[in-house]
Symmetry: C2
Subunit: 225 residues, 2 copies
C-alpha cells in the first residue's frame, strides 16, 4: 500500500513546525493541508475532536495529535535519520527537556511579553532562570541533540523562531549576549540549517501576528487586575 | 555490575505511585527513599535541581525526573511485562491519553473541588466533558491498556486513587454511576489488582491530607477574588 501522510497545519504554529521539520529531516513525503484557524475545517475537527487544534498528522487514515507525541510516532515509524538518541537514558533526558520547554520555559517567556512593571521584572527573572538551563545544556554542543538537529532542537524551535520576534515587538531583549552566548549561537545554527530555513515563516508576518497577540493578552491581563 | 535502582518518593504522591507500580509490575528490585517534602533532602535537590520534586528514579547513579518520562525509561530499560503497546500508533495513543490526563483532565477535576457556586458548576461540566472521553476509551476493555494494566492505567492512577477521596472530603459525587459505569468498573478493577493494591496509600490518611489541601486551595481561590 502506498503511504498516505497528511499534515494539518497553519503557516506559523511552532507546534506544527516541529512536525514539518521532523518529516523533512527524515525525507518523508507528505501532503500539507493549511487550516484557517478562525474557521477550522470539519476534517480537522473530525481528526482532533478533543483538542480541535493543529498540528494533526494523518498516516494511512489514522490521526495523531499533540506535536511531541507526533514526533515520537514519526521516529518509531520512519527509522531513517534518527531524531532521538539511542541510549534509553539520553532518550529520557531528551523527553525531559522537551516537556520542560512546554510546561515551564514557554509560560515563563510568554509572561515576559504580556506583564507590566514589577510583574514583568519577576517574569524576566523567572525566564532567565529557565534559559540558564538551556545555556548549560548547550555547553560543548552545536545542537541540543549534539552534532545534528534532533528531537530537543525541534521541540525548542519556538525559542529560535519566536522569542526575537516578541523582543522586537516589545522593544526589549530577553536573550542576552553576555548571559546566553551558546543559546544565541544555537539559534543561528538552527536557523541556518537548510531544512529548517526552508520552512521558516516570514519574519514580517510573524511580527504583525505577534504584535496583535501580545496586545490582546496584555490588555486581557490588565483588565483582569 | 549489580543494578542499583533507587526511588525517591513520599507516601502518597500519585506521580510517585506511577513509578512504584511500574517497577513492581516489571519485578524490578529497588530501594525506596521516603522524602519529607517539607524538608527535602540535599540528595533529592542534587538529583532533581530543576523541579526539586519527587519522584526521582536513580539508576546506577543516573537520576531521572518527571513520572511519565520515568515510565518510558523503565519500559525501555526493563523489557519484561511491557507497559506500552507494541504498535507505534497505539503507543502514540497511549502517550496522548497520559498527557491529556495531566494537562487537561487533572486541572479540570481539581477545580471541581476548590471552586464555589457558578464557577464550580462550570468546573463540573468541564470535568464531566473530559471524563466522558475516558468512559468512551474504556468501551470493551477491562483496562485502558486492554486486558492488562499498562502505561495509561498507571498514568490515570490518581483518578482511581484520589477522586473518591476528594468527593468524600467535599460531600459531592463527580464520577456518577449513570454517566460513568465503565470508569467506575475500571477503578474497581485497578484497585483490586494485587500489585496496585499493595502500594495503595491508606484512605484515612489521604482523606485528612486532601481535606487540608482542598481547604488551603479553596481559601486561596476565595482570597484572590
Amino acid at each position: 500500500m502506498a503511504e498516505e501522510v497528511k499534515l494539518f497545519r497553519n503557516w506559523s504554529s511552532p507546534f506544527a513546525l516541529r512536525v514539518v521539520w521532523a518529516l523533512q529531516l527524515k525525507g518523508v513525503p507528505y501532503e500539507t493541508i493549511y487550516e484557517d484557524l478562525s474557521e477550522k475545517s470539519s476534517l480537522l475537527l473530525h481528526y482532533n475532536p478533543i483538542h480541535k487544534k493543529i498540528p494533526v498528522l494523518v498516516h494511512n487514515g489514522k490521526p495523531l495529535a499533540e506535536s511531541l507525541v507526533i514526533l515520537e510516532y514519526i521516529e518509531e515509524t520512519w527509522k531513517q535519520t534518527p531524531l532521538f538518541p539511542e541510549d534509553p537514558y539520553e532518550r529520557s533526558t531528551a523527553r525531559f527537556w522537551a516537556r520542560f520547554g512546554d510546561d515551564h520555559l514557554s509560560p515563563s517567556v510568554f509572561n515576559v511579553f504580556i506583564k507590566q512593571g514589577k510583574e514583568q521584572k519577576e517574569a524576566i527573572a523567572r525566564a532567565h532562570g529557565n534559559l540558564k538551563y538551556l545555556e548549560e545544556e548547550l555547553r560543548g554542543k552545536k545542537f541540543f541533540s549534539g552534532e545534528k538537529i534532533g528531537y530537543v532542537d525541534l521541540a525548542f524551535g519556538w525559542v529560535a523562531n519566536l522569542i526575537s520576534v516578541c523582543e522586537e515587538v516589545k522593544g526589549l531583549t530577553l536573550i542576552e549576549h553576555e548571559k546566553h552566548p551558546l543559546l544565541l549561537a544555537w539559534i543561528q545554527n538552527f536557523m541556518d540549517a537548510p531544512i529548517i530555513k526552508e520552512s521558516w515563516p516570514p519574519r514580517d508576518k510573524l511580527i504583525s501576528k505577534y504584535h496583535a497577540r501580545i496586545e490582546f493578552y496584555s490588555s486581557k491581563e490588565a483588565a483582569e487586575k
